[in-house]
């Protein structure tokens, strides 16, 4: 029993006492804010990039290509630091926004690839069938290709959001007190590794919740495949 007592005391000191529980909650809120904001911004940027890529207008296509290769070709930590030091150089107390913009810009490149792959995964015969009936290319895209592409896109997007949650843990690099950063701060007070485990449990729970909804979503989307 002595071990259990010691363990519980350790949890108490590292995660609950001295308002540390509140610190964790504040960190959780910040992690969630950054994730949600970046996810929304990422989808908007990703869709815009997809539209650029498929527009047939050369400058737009080149822009999208360049954007994606730069974002995917450089570390996200660096992107975060650069955005903090440029766009938000003079702003104070805007840490959450730095995170949203940095991770949103980063996520946009991946979302674009997800959407493009989803559209391209639809057999060319589907487009041909639509066009042969006399539907315009826009009608074919919106009534035939996109509804099918969504089936491949949505699960991949949910997956991207799972990646995003974990990725935001580096936002501490620009002094934003997200859950990872909070755990580090407490840990340096208590000289104990326990707060980091607490943070890990938070991430695990968040990801598990998302995964649960993701699998429900996939099941729902497969309804028309049932034989």
């Amino acid at each position: 029993m002595a071990f259990l007592d010691r363990f519980l005391e350790m949890v108490y000191v590292n995660a609950i006492a001295y308002g540390r529980w509140q610190m964790f909650m504040d960190g959780l809120v910040i992690t969630l804010q950054i994730t949600a904001g970046a996810a929304i911004l990422g989808v908007i940027i990703g869709l815009a990039l997809t539209f650029f890529k498929m527009s047939g207008i050369l400058p737009l296509e080149l822009f999208a290509k360049l954007y994606i290769s730069v974002i995917r070709g450089t570390p996200v930590v660096l992107q975060l630091l650069i955005i903090n030091a440029t766009i938000f150089a003079t702003a104070r107390g805007m840490g959450v926004w730095v995170g949203i913009v940095a991770f949103g810009i980063n996520s946009g490149a991946y979302v674009c690839e997800i959407v493009r792959a989803g559209i391209q995964s639809i057999d060319k015969g589907q487009t041909e069938a639509g066009r042969s009936l006399g539907l315009s290319s826009r009608q074919t895209m919106s009534f035939i290709v996109l509804p099918q592409a969504v089936k491949n896109i949505l699960p991949a997007l949910a997956n991207e959001s799972i990646i995003l949650i974990k990725e935001t843990s580096i936002v501490g690099f620009v002094a934003v007190a997200d859950i990872t950063r909070v755990s580090q701060q407490i840990s340096s007070r208590t000289f104990n590794v326990m707060p980091m485990f607490v943070a890990a449990v938070f991430y695990l729970v968040l990801v598990s919740i998302l995964t649960f909804f993701l699998s429900k979503l996939e099941k729902k989307l497969r309804e028309s495949d049932v034989r």
């Binding site: 069938a129 042969s132 009936l133 006399g134 539907l135």
Partner: protein, 242 residues
């Protein structure tokens, strides 16, 4: 009704259609045969501009559809197409597959479109599959639905691109039956096929194509009985022995 002059098609360096000239009259059932890679499907796809000809003209009902600025969608509404791989829309129910184009293009009400679709489903004998999804159908059923889908736009011409080639042998008959019925109603049809029996019995005219050229044309009876060209002879010898 359709006249094709000097039609050429290149895929990069590949010259797949070589100077095709042809006319198709209203009510005709033109059957196109030939070895694979002979350009028969490409020829068919040039008729509704799924492939854009590299040069040459296609004129339908006096309108030059290969001219610049032609509304391709309008042209295609008059021509139904049936594909080898069916290409039903898997995310839509059978009935929605058929009503989609009439609702979106002709601004038909859902009720009216459904009524027409149900009549067509009766015709292809699949009314009991009204609310099924394509994944629940056999190949033959899918193809009959695909024919109904094309007919829902009340086309004047029906193009068939090897409609039975992807089917299990026991399902070929039901699809050919629907096509035969359609021919009996006077529909203008262009059929690319390997079904020699269908070509002989339903076709009113036959094209034999090889290596991108239109080698021989005539009535199926004449060509099957006495092919003039040596390439036609050797092709028919191979396929009819089977």
């Amino acid at each position: 009704m359709i006249s094709v002059t000097g039609l050429n098609k290149h895929f990069g360096k590949l010259h797949v259609l070589k100077d095709i000239n042809a006319t198709i009259e209203r009510g005709e059932k033109l059957v196109v045969i030939g070895p694979s890679g002979s350009g028969k499907s490409t020829f068919l796809r040039c008729l509704n501009l799924l492939e854009v000809p590299s040069s040459g003209e296609v004129v339908i009902d006096g309108g030059r559809i290969t001219a610049k600025g032609v509304d391709v969608n309008k042209v295609r509404q008059k021509m139904g197409m049936v594909f080898q791989q069916f290409n039903l829309f898997p995310h839509l129910k059978v009935i929605e597959n058929i009503t989609l184009a009439p609702i979106k293009i002709k601004n038909m009400s859902e009720g009216e479109a459904a009524r027409i679709a149900e009549a067509l489903l009766e015709k292809v004998d699949l009314i009991d599959k009204r609310d099924a999804y394509p994944a629940q159908l056999s190949g033959g059923q899918k193809q009959r639905i695909a024919i109904a889908r094309a007919l829902a736009m009340t086309p004047e011409i029906m193009l068939f691109d090897e409609p039975t080639s992807a089917l299990d042998p026991e399902m070929v008959g039901e699809v050919l039956q629907v096509m035969e019925d359609l021919a009996g109603e006077g529909m203008t049809m262009v059929v690319v096929t390997h079904e020699m029996g269908f070509a002989r019995e339903v076709g009113s005219r036959l094209f034999f194509m090889d290596q991108g050229q239109l080698i021989e044309e005539g009535t199926p009876k004449d060509i099957f009985a006495a092919p003039k060209h040596e390439r036609t002879q050797s092709f028919l010898k191979k396929v009819l022995r089977a």
